[in-house]
């Protein structure tokens, strides 16, 4: 039995789940003034219904970090940044507490200019004077060699309550994003740490230990105490909960589209062979472009309650929502009103819906029925167009080898999974425009909580080997060890997978959930003069985003 809770912007969903069977479900409004409190209230309520049974795990998806960032309710952070040549510092950050130091690492991971101890000491003192307790140490190419960041941490780290190190955030390249990500991590560290403490106290009350996990933006989970130092990973887990919900409630094995149609917006996600697609460079939150690994989702301003206008000879849907549907007392006609008039959904408020649509029909010079039909069709078409654009964008994504360019995977979804209020009436029509089969998963109203409950622990790892420099770097762990000049790509891949397994287990994964895969595997001969000086090996591996073992497709307990 697993307890899954998703704290969304408006609703908090919670489920108790066994296999893929939903035993209990609750949906309550979110109290945004006390996110932690309302989450635990729901947990307590559901655990109460379970009687004397304890869940084997509890998974939360929370907006605590996200809200803190969006509302700018974050701690002041001091930043020590090692930028080296390239983009001017002012393009990286203009934060008043950012200090650029002279040391730097180049693309090969070679320390070109070492850390100037005095320079760092002076910066640390100035932060102290300002009462800054959390700091960031981030360097350009620290994912090629974390040593410089570690050196700075060794010199001044112990003087601060928290230090976020750039290379721990992600193994990927992109210095401005590394700075933003590390900044956010340090900025929400206090507020998130507090949340972890509250959850631990709550769990302790039960006298029995059960593991608690937090959902990340990539649709994977992380044991809560392991997440305490990496709160940035918990940002934007909402869309991930929804996508993982669809993955767990639907039998998704092929290329597919997932839609979550709400009142104001519709979220689109894509699956390639049943695996949700990730954002290639990282998530964006407000003005921050980050390296946070997250699912690729698009949100468009169209939903059941979008305001409908008649303009330039056609109906225009959204992007604004001015209130609920006219049928329920709202100020403007909406797609929901059109669906009521067409008899596609429950006829409550039909009279009001008709009244709201009549002026539009008159302006368009068509019957009420035809106006409703056209509004409904345009709403579905609009969503289908956005889906098509997103698929095209994925397929147009640059690749860097001839093999991928000529024979790379082309995404061609055949199924459309839809959740959200107007899923029933809209799914078939949108599917028609997309030339797909429509499916509406059961328990769609609590899909987010189910998704959180059943998501497996994920993580990734980057390994670099330079046989000329004779070094091996395991980026996200900050490890750099010597290797022989004969070190091979095969050895590198093996080490990478072993270390990934250990890392995933330490983050709370169960052995049976570990579906590992190598996502990048490159080896380049480094030629200097006309001789091969060594090999530059780059391996990346991940635990694939997916469901925990025991509830996967084909499991007898969940055939419907």
């Amino acid at each position: 039995m697993i307890l899954g809770i998703d704290v969304g912007g408006t609703h908090t969903d919670a489920v108790l789940i066994e296999g893929r069977d939903v035993l209990e479900k609750v949906k309550v409004p979110t109290n945004s003034d006390n996110l932690g409190g309302s989450l635990l209230e729901v947990a307590e309520q559901l655990l109460g219904t379970a009687g004397s049974r304890y869940p084997e795990r509890v998974v939360f998806s929370t907006t605590i970090s996200t809200n803190a960032i969006v509302q700018d309710a974050v701690s002041t952070v001091g930043m020590i940044l090692a930028n080296g040549p390239g983009i001017p510092p002012s393009y990286i950050t203009t934060d008043e507490n950012a200090r650029f130091v002279s040391g730097y690492v180049n693309h090969r991971g070679i320390i070109v200019v070492p850390v100037d101890r005095r320079e760092v000491e002076v910066i640390a003192k100035s932060f102290h004077k300002k009462g800054i307790a959390n700091i960031v140490v981030a360097g350009k190419f620290s994912t090629r060699n974390p040593r410089l960041e570690l050196d700075i941490d060794d010199i001044v780290g112990s003087r601060f309550a928290h230090v976020s190190l750039g290379h721990r955030m992600s193994g990927n390249l992109n210095f401005p994003r590394r700075v933003a990500t590390t900044y956010l991590n340090a900025a929400v560290w206090d507020i998130y740490r507090n949340f972890v403490d509250v959850v631990n106290a709550f769990i302790n009350r039960f006298g029995k230990r059960f593991p608690v996990y937090i959902l990340k933006a990539d649709g994977g989970t992380l044991e809560i105490n392991r997440s305490a130092d990496y709160p940035a990973q918990t940002i934007l887990s909402g869309p991930a909960a929804s996508v993982m919900g669809i993955l767990s409630l639907a039998d998704c094995v092929e290329d597919a589209v997932a839609l979550d149609i709400g009142g104001t917006t519709t979220d689109i996600a894509l699956f390639a062979d049943g695996v949700p697609l990730l954002e290639p460079r990282g998530m964006t939150i407000g003005k921050y472009k980050t390296l946070i690994r997250g699912l690729r989702t698009r949100s468009i301003g169209i939903g059941g309650d979008s305001a409908v206008r008649f303009e330039h000879g056609g109906f225009v849907i959204g992007p604004h929502r001015l209130g609920p549907a006219a049928a329920f007392g709202g100020p403007t006609p909406t797609p929901t009103d059109a669906m009521i008039v067409l008899g596609l959904t429950s006829p409550d408020g039909r009279r009001k819906a008709e009244k709201a649509l009549e002026p539009l029909a008159a302006r368009a010079g068509v019957s009420l029925e035809n106006a409703a039909r056209e509004i409904f069709d345009e709403t579905c078409r609009h969503i289908a167009r956005a889906v098509t654009a997103m698929i095209e964008e994925v397929n147009a994504q640059p690749v860097y080898t001839i093999h991928e360019l000529l024979e790379g995977k082309v995404l061609r979804p055949t199924v459309l999974h839809v959740v959200g209020g107007p899923a029933e009436p809209m799914a078939p029509r949108i599917a028609e425009y997309l030339n797909c089969r429509a499916e509406i998963p059961p328990h769609a109203e609590v899909a987010n909580a189910v998704g959180a409950a059943l998501a497996r622990t994920t993580t990734e790892l980057t390994l670099l080997a330079d046989t000329e420099e004779k070094t091996l770097t395991i980026v996200e762990e900050g490890i750099r060890i010597p290797i022989s000049s004969g070190f091979s790509r095969e050895e590198a891949a093996e080490i990478c997978l072993d270390r990934l397994r250990e890392r995933a287990l330490a983050m709370g994964a169960r052995e049976e959930d570990l579906e590992l895969e190598i996502t990048e595997d490159q080896s380049f001969n480094m030629v200097r003069g006309f001789y091969t000086a060594g090999k530059n090996i780059r391996i990346k591996a991940q635990v694939k985003p997916g469901l925990i073992a025991g509830v996967e497709r084909g499991d007898p307990s969940c055939t419907r």
């Binding site: 393009y91 994003r177 860097y400």
Partner: protein, 435 residues
């Protein structure tokens, strides 16, 4: 602050292609450039967009080259992608999606001549030339300038546009007496119908930022101002860098960025540049920033030392003599033309060596002297592969007389005993025939 420009980037490092494992043109070549571009976060800038390269088609190649025996025999997919990348860059600019674009693709192309029996100077097909003729065909632009800043003379581009007065080909390079391919002297100024429209600026070894920028400001930019091209293309070779292993110049990443900033090319296409670790990452970032109108003043090689790169006064003096002389030559290009021999043919015979594939070619090229158009061209080419071919090239905007003459020669020349194939490349009508 510079005005921000929308810049397209077509980045194709072809990580799975090399001429041979230790060849300069190998998988590793753009690896560190990619690292630097990604780490700087350049692709996150609102005004920089990355595009996937398209594939060039046989039509695109046949519009420029006479491939022996045919296009598919002389190029692989990697060449189609690299030419396709240049075409994608052109499409993005000319459709107005971006203000300028940089095709950071490999393999390069500027040593590939009109007739192609194989690879020379690491090049099989001329990707800029293919792009130029594609632009003319699909967008109708006539006057195009190519400024080739590769350290090696772009003898292939020169050959292809030798008779074309609508294409101004300017090459600035290390003096041919000291470097492959050993051509590109001031007296190579174009065929009889296009005299002056080939402009070679051979600079002495160890020319630094100072010398390159002197030639840019006092020759290249004023000539462009006179020519008034519709489009400026930069063959952006990067081997003038002080750390390049196969050349002897002292140019820098800052220098390349400043040059790009002043030249303002609509399209830049990567050519050579083999200092893959210490130069290319910085030069390419500098070029991208300069094209996008972003401050590039912090782009410097880790070992950059201006004192060590200071230009020898003798080099400076040489360049200060050369540049005004070449500018005079450009201004007097109208009087270079001999008294009108219109209607007669002028021929040149040449030996061409394909260093990469070790092929020798003997070529006799004739052009009809014409006051109306670029003149019909015929080529008799015999290669050490045993292939001998004959080609007739009807130029773009061909006059009636040149067309008549070309068609008659093609009709009268038989394939078989002497010539394995006879080709007609009608650039004006975009028709390519082989018999």
């Amino acid at each position: 602050m510079h005005p921000v420009k929308r810049t397209g980037l077509i980045f194709f490092p072809a990580f799975d292609w090399a001429i041979s494992p230790t060849h300069p043109e190998r998988e590793e070549r753009l690896l560190y450039t990619q690292d630097q571009v990604f780490e700087e976060g350049l692709l996150d800038y609102e005004n920089i967009s990355e595009y996937k390269p398209g594939l060039a088609g046989t039509d695109d190649i046949n519009r420029v080259h006479i491939c022996v025996p045919d296009a598919s025999a002389v190029c692989t997919e990697s060449h189609l992608i690299s030419a396709g990348g240049a075409i994608t860059a052109a499409d993005k600019v000319l459709r107005g999606d971006v203000d300028n674009a940089f095709a950071l693709v490999r393999p390069p192309g500027h040593h590939a001549m009109r007739v192609v029996h194989g690879a020379r100077g690491f090049c099989n097909i001329n990707i800029e030339a293919i792009m130029v003729e594609y632009i003319r065909r699909h967008y109708g632009h006539r006057k195009i300038a190519i400024v080739d800043t590769d350290c090696h003379h772009g003898d292939g581009s020169q050959d292809i546009f030798w008779h074309d007065p609508d294409t101004l080909y300017i090459s600035v390079h290390q003096d041919g007496r000291t470097l492959y391919p050993g051509t590109g002297f001031p007296n190579e100024t174009g065929g009889p119908n296009a005299l002056g429209y080939t402009l070679n600026i051979p600079l002495p070894p160890e020319t630094s930022e100072e010398g390159f920028l002197f030639a840019l400001d006092n020759l290249i930019l004023p000539v462009l101002e006179d020519f008034k091209p519709d489009i400026i293309i930069n063959s952006a070779g990067q081997d003038n860098h002080y750390s390049d292993p196969i050349t002897n110049m002292n140019f820098t990443a800052q220098g390349y960025a400043i040059l790009t900033d002043r030249l303002k090319p609509h399209i830049a296409v990567l050519e050579g540049g083999y200092s893959v670790e210490t130069a290319l990452p910085y030069i390419n970032v500098g070029i991208i920033l300069a094209m996008a109108g972003i401050d590039y003043s912090f782009v410097k090689e880790p070992d950059y030392n201006p004192a060590a790169l200071r230009q020898d006064p003798e080099v400076t003096a040489y360049i200060e003599r050369l540049v005004p002389a070449l500018y005079d030559q450009w201004r007097q290009r109208g009087s270079l033309k001999a008294s009108s021999d219109a209607g007669t043919f002028e021929r040149r015979s040449r030996s061409i060596y394909y260093d990469t594939d070790n092929i020798h070619e003997e070529q006799i090229e004739s052009v009809r002297i014409c006051d109306e158009c670029g003149g019909v061209v015929t080529i008799d080419s015999m290669a050490s592969t045993g292939n001998r071919i004959f080609a007739v090239i009807v130029p773009g905007r061909a006059c009636a007389a040149c067309r008549r003459e070309g068609e008659a020669i093609f009709a009268a020349t038989k394939s078989g005993d002497v010539y394995r194939y006879v080709y007609l490349q009608d650039r004006d009508r975009d028709v390519f025939t082989r018999k």
